[in-house]
Symmetry: C2
Subunit: 533 residues, 2 copies
């Protein structure tokens, strides 16, 4: 044995044993570390798997009760038909009662996810809205986490599908107020960018509301026209703007309904023509395989030739083109014209009666059959229903001039066209005197009407022509036409208009027999729709 202080050198064996022990400890440590890491990774993977929201194949979603109750649909490419019925928001609470489970597709109007709850609003057809809700389930706290995470990821304006159960509720901010939807499943059909050019609710505010907010802590943004037009599809999602499009459709529908009922037939006249269709206004031209073609400024000459063709009552709804470089809302380079032309027996008053009947049908039809759309428009742009008389309210030019003189206007020799201000004043005076927004001013001076206008039989300084007004806004212009070819030639010469080939053909058509006729042109958008603003 070695004494104290004696240094005993370790044998090689001892050394090896120590080293091995040390390495074993190290290995064990690393093993434990790796094990811990693996466990952590496994836990993380498990957590991620639990929370992952996979893309959902649209067709699978019938089987998703045991699967995924939320997610983005893969692009809908018509793989097959689900036969699923989607409901209309407008039908909730009436056709569909509380307790019913149903599917809705619509646009995500707004969404708020906070803590364990989510409130969202689904919008359809721009102005039908319903609230949908989702709440954390205390008995099963894990499952809803994933749903809330998905709901948080949804962007407004996305198209989404919701399956949910109708429950009774009181929701003031939606069009559907007495029911809401308890969300069961929710999927995105088409996701909107998170960054939108503007919010639809900002596009939907009235000027008054925006004005009133300017002094407050939270002034509403004022959207410029350019921004709106650059994103027209967004602007048209605002309820009033969307409804204006539907009202324009309705005006055309009612226009046609009334004219079909009065024996009219629709024509489609050429828009690419060889010469100008009207004198006066500018014309767009295009190269037509080496020769020059004009864009029709109106169907005037063609609709008259339709009368020569034994189509005795015709109308057209079509674009007209005017190369007028002026930026007023009463001058557009392209607008939709509603034109009509008809044979008359002995007086153009027959035509004014047809037109009056037609406008009454439009006014009554809009207020009854499109009441919802009008209400929506009037929320953003206040207006009252148009007042009108049962029989046409027709003023003659001298009476109109006298009313303007009474209203303080200097009308000179009373033979010049009315200014916009005069028209508005006349509208006010007529409303005062006759109690109607809608009236006709007849017998315009010949000098301010086109060459194809029939002169007054007693005094050729005046003519058998009329404008029609709503609230002092001209919405329609028309006349008895001159169906006598020699008289047309005389007037053309008087007005110093040169006859191109198109005009020669037009005059020629009257030499083969033609009924006396009268007509009118209305501009959509410049007309009733703009008078709603």
């Amino acid at each position: 044995m070695a004494a104290d202080g004696e240094v005993v050198e370790k044998t090689q064996e001892e050394k090896d044993a120590i080293k091995a022990a040390r390495e074993a400890r190290k290995a064990e440590k690393e093993r434990l570390k790796a094990e811990k890491k693996a466990k952590k990774a496994a836990a993380a993977a498990a957590k991620e798997a639990a929370e992952r929201i996979e893309e959902v194949t649209y067709l699978d979603y019938g089987e998703q009760d045991n699967y995924q109750t939320m997610g983005d649909f893969a692009r809908i490419m018509s793989r097959s038909r689900t036969g699923r019925d989607f409901c209309n928001v407008a039908d909730l609470g009436n056709v569909h009662k509380p307790g019913e489970t149903l599917w809705l597709r619509g646009r995500l109007h707004s969404i708020r996810v906070k803590g364990g709850s989510c409130f969202l609003v689904l919008r359809q057809d721009s102005f039908h809205t319903v609230q949908a809700t989702f709440f954390k389930d205390k008995e099963n706290p894990e499952a809803p986490k994933k749903m809330l995470k998905y709901l948080k990821s949804l962007t407004v304006e996305s198209i989404i599908d919701i399956e949910g159960t109708l429950v009774e509720a009181q929701v003031k901010s939606c069009s559907i107020q007495d029911v809401e939807l308890a969300i069961g499943r929710i999927y995105a059909v088409s996701k909107a960018d998170a960054m939108l050019p503007f919010l639809v609710e900002d596009a939907a505010r009235s000027e008054e509301e925006v004005d009133a907010s300017q002094g407050t802590d939270r002034p509403f943004p004022r959207l410029g026209q350019e921004l709106r037009l650059d994103n027209r599809w967004m602007d048209l999602r605002a309820p009033a703007n969307n409804a204006i499009m539907r009202i324009q459709s309705a005006i055309c529908q009612l226009f046609r309904e009334s004219l079909y009922a009065q024996g009219f037939c629709e024509i489609h006249t050429p828009k690419l023509i060889a010469g100008e269709s009207e004198s006066g206004a500018g014309v767009f031209t295009t190269d037509y395989f080496g020769s020059e073609a004009c864009l029709a400024q109106s169907p005037q000459l063609y609709k008259q030739m339709a009368i020569s063709s034994d189509l005795t009552r015709v109308f057209e709804v079509a674009p007209v083109f005017r190369a007028e470089n002026s930026n007023t809302r009463r001058h557009l380079c392209e607008f939709t014209g509603l034109d009509l032309e008809m044979a008359i027996n002995d007086h153009y008053m027959e035509t004014l009666e047809v037109i009056h009947t037609m406008f009454k049908h439009i006014f009554n039809g809009l207020e009854s059959r499109w009441a919802k759309e009008l209400a929506v428009i009037r929320e953003q742009y206040a207006s009252e229903p148009v007042t009108f008389t049962e029989e046409p309210c027709v003023l003659h030019w001298p009476e109109g001039i006298a009313m303007l003189e009474d209203a303080g206007f200097d009308t000179g020799d009373g033979m010049s066209d009315l200014t916009g201000a005069m028209e508005l004043a006349l509208g006010a005076a007529v409303k005062e005197k006759y109690g109607t927004d809608f009236f006709m001013l007849d017998k315009y001076p010949s000098s301010i009407r086109p060459f194809y206008t029939m002169p007054d039989p007693e005094d050729s300084r005046f003519s058998n022509s009329y404008d029609i007004f709503i609230r002092g806004q001209e919405i329609c212009s028309g006349a008895q036409r001159c169906h006598d070819p020699d008289l047309v030639l005389e007037i053309l010469a008087q007005k110093g208009i040169e006859m191109g080939d198109g005009l020669k053909t037009y005059v020629e058509s009257f030499r083969h027999g033609v009924c006396p006729h009268a007509g009118a042109g209305i501009s959509l958008g410049l007309g009733y729709a703009s008078s709603l603003e």
Copy 2:
């Protein structure tokens, strides 16, 4: 007293007496001559006065019983209203019974004056005709002479007013066969030139009738297309041509009726646009105040953006412009397009069903509500009603190709567009196999469809697109559209199409959420109307 032979000179008195006697005889002779002349002049004046046919003031004709029962009306300039009721030719014999005296206004279709009788045919709305007659009265032989003289002066195609009494008759050559009108009074409203470019009856004959007459003594003239088009208002007076215009109107009316009923709304998209609306076909351009504008080749991009605007089902009836310099009846530089576009839930078959419902409404509506017009057209251009299936008859591309191979066509790799001959053959084969004139060919190869077409989900060489045929004539083309902006960009790159600003805006609109959607475009005139020919 003087002796024989003695010359006794006459006294001056005697000479004067002889001269006076001679002059008296001469004067008496001249007086008699003048008297005779005056009598003759008076007789001539009386005769002329009796025969003179003066212009008649339109308004006076209520008082013409003691006055003039015939004549040209002075130009009708709406002096006042007569309140006179004109009857419809179509109502004669049913609404109006024999014995009734009534007024008709119409076109002088034909007239024959011979001896003491006149037979004329009055035409209304191009295909309603009635015979009117006038006969010399033996008890009062002078009065009718003037009438017969006036009747002789009338030119065909003039617009005339007749007051007459309905009498029973048998007239084979008119649409009104069991009554005719005994003329009481007759006036010309608008006289046609005696020299017409052609007669309406010549424009109204079928090719077969003209062909058959060529070997005979009296061959019918064959009117060239140019002559017809140069006098289009005359050509449209031919019953079939006139009825085709009314059928075109009817097609649009039925198209809209069905789409309104299926929740659609009408839009009016711009025709003057900044860039091309479609690639491929040529485009007309115009100077737009210093920059270049294009005429829209279709409303395609706009109607899709309407879907983005929450107008979920839209249609448009409007002109479209294609600068294609080819003279076939299937390529027009301007035609009326009937377009529709709609959001779909899960499959574009939803759209095909909407279209099928719409076409059924058109086919049934035309045959029932426009039966008269169709009958008139079929007299000149023979055709049968379109046969169709109750549910859509949809062929997939491979089936169509197989049927063509069976019919002896070499379809190559089966991925090229069908030729006109193939389409006709396919129409015949489908009629044979499925008994329908009307069918849909679905799943066209992607390579021959526009960039905005949704590819087939299983095989992107094909697409979710279809053409619709009547008797092998393509009348409609459509597809599910690609509503995924990134996929549109991918396809644009594949097809090597450069994106202008218009296209950028279009793709952008899909980034703010959009429903899957599908639609179609139909061309009026190139479509059903031309298949009637």
